[in-house]
Symmetry: C2
Subunit: 345 residues, 2 copies
């Protein structure tokens, strides 16, 4: 870690960049105006960034612009992107962890390209079998970490154990006051259920469970994901991706149906006035922008991927997540957890 928490931001990634990125940064700076423990490095076209920055009263000692000429587009594939990669804002914002003194990188650009570039530049940690994409989920008791959300479509039990140690480290770094309770996603809660891979991972996690790293709670089924009794949920990337998107689709379906119901006649329209604040709170609690930011784990440095289509508030939450992760010493915790694995092996 550098002396100050240094966040390298791809200012050109995502829809409506760099406008929403800089607006999001402005929200972050406003909310953290009393803190002096961080530096933001913005990678991208200098003139555009300067123009956006000039709209706000942004203190110059906390923000550094690093000019880059090219931008990775949504149409790029990892193959086409890497050809021109070295001049892009995405490449350089990740590379900043190797030679620019950054602790973490953030981009809202092309996901496939970001994963490949990150792996090329930062390399996999030697203790890790496969990297994983982790995300935050709302629960009745706060937030949970779920991984893998799609970095690996086929996994073995060794991968699931690594994901467990990394996911628990991530949870502890974001929520230092809470204990990580870890579960494996399965289609039943009894020990005998599931694939051979899950049964092997179950047995190993039972051995590894302890107060310091994580407390293993066994299997969890999809309907209990949001109960919050466990806060680190581990699965392969195919299942995790399907579960995440199914939850998103279900939430959208329900809120759309609700909206339709509440605006279909004059009485229900009238009722909205009365329930305005309650519904606002309901919406706010479940605002997906609060959970914006997937964390790519298992490389020699963390990379956060913001949704491309999020707005400035969503992008602010991703910057905040970067700050918390480094403040909470993610990399130190991951190394510690992976050592824990080796000791017992």
């Amino acid at each position: 870690m550098t002396q100050k928490i240094t966040i390298a931001i791809d200012a050109m990634g995502g829809s409506n960049a760099p406008k929403k990125n800089i607006e999001g940064l402005n929200i972050f700076l406003r909310k953290n105006k009393d803190k002096n423990d961080f530096i933001i490095k913005l990678y991208g076209k200098k003139d555009l960034i300067k123009e956006e920055l000039s709209k706000f009263n942004i203190s110059k000692d906390k923000v550094i612009i690093v000019p880059t000429e090219e931008v990775v587009s949504d149409e790029d594939t990892p193959m086409t992107a890497i050809k021109n990669a070295k001049n892009t804002s995405m490449w350089n914002s990740v590379k900043a962890q190797v030679e620019g003194g950054a602790d973490i990188s953030l981009s809202a650009g092309n996901t496939g390209v970001l994963l490949v570039i990150s792996r090329m530049i930062l390399k996999m940690m030697k203790e890790v079998s496969k990297p994983a994409l982790a995300g935050l989920w709302p629960s009745k008791q706060g937030m949970s970490v779920v991984l893998d959300l799609g970095a690996n479509i086929e996994c073995d039990e060794k991968n699931l154990i690594d994901f467990s140690e990394m996911g628990a480290a991530l949870f502890k770094s974001i929520f230092p006051d809470q204990k990580p309770y870890l579960s494996l996603l399965n289609i039943g809660s009894e020990e005998i259920k599931g694939t051979e891979m899950l049964k092997k991972a179950f047995a190993r996690l039972k051995e590894l469970s302890n107060e310091e790293n994580f407390i293993f709670k066994g299997y969890i089924e999809g309907n209990n994901l949001m109960e919050g009794d466990t806060n680190v949920i581990v699965t392969d990337g195919f299942t995790g991706n399907v579960a995440l998107k199914t939850a998103e689709g279900t939430a959208k379906f329900l809120t759309d149906s609700l909206k339709k119901s509440l605006t279909e006649n004059i009485f229900s329209k009238f009722s909205i006035i009365f329930s305005y604040f309650s519904l606002k709170k309901f919406k706010s609690k479940l605002d997906p922008r609060k959970y914006n930011g997937a964390i790519f784990l298992g490389l020699n440095g963390p990379v956060v991927k913001s949704h491309g289509s999020t707005d400035s508030v969503g992008f602010y939450h991703s910057i905040d997540l970067c700050y918390k992760i480094i403040k909470g010493n993610l990399m130190g915790r991951i190394k510690n957890n992976l050592n824990h694995l080796n000791v017992k092996d």
Copy 2:
């Protein structure tokens, strides 16, 4: 098919049986009082069933009681259940398809035991590689069929093709006026995404796609499951089970949060009066009891599994589903669809 649609019901399965089962039957009979094309056979303890039937004005020519002494409990495993199986209401309600003239069997009892017993009694269709559990999902455009929901935790491409043909047949039998649009659940919509198994199934389904059996629409992601653009969704039993339960959990989480929001203060409580009818409609559209009933496909006869904890309305919907399936000639359609497979092989 017998002359009249004959439904064999395990009257003793599920919580609160046989009360809720008979109450559900009463709803079905009331709603179909002008029809004379069905017979209900009730399997279970004669005295208990008679007592429940006596509470309603039920026409004797549509309902036959077949006395059985034993009941499969929730604690039974397939092993313990099969020992005493031959005297149970569950065993005999399935056996009715072989020797009692029934077209379909319905139980709200122990799922694991029902699947094993059904397979033992009805045997797998010789054209099918593995049986599957199919369910109904709400969508913006009506209802979809999703399978496999958990009968097989590991599948190959041949299984997925069989599930496709059977799922499309099921959809057509329930919704004879609609065309089956079929998709494979995946973590991306591009043809190159996903496991080898999915890619092989994709290629084969593309060949098989036609107006008569099903129209193949390619891959679908979890967030689009409820859009309704496709109405037959095919996946392996592990993924399907996780998706189903995650959707259920998300819906519960959202409706619980909404309920909390709407009752937390006097203004929002007041608002409920105004939005009462809209919310009632919202709740009614999404009432899980309407989707109650998973269909076990691939045996020489269909078996419907109702949720054990559903109430009389949920159980009514399962009976109605049984009626529709047979009326829509499910078994004929499955055979036809599987023949279609063989012709092209």
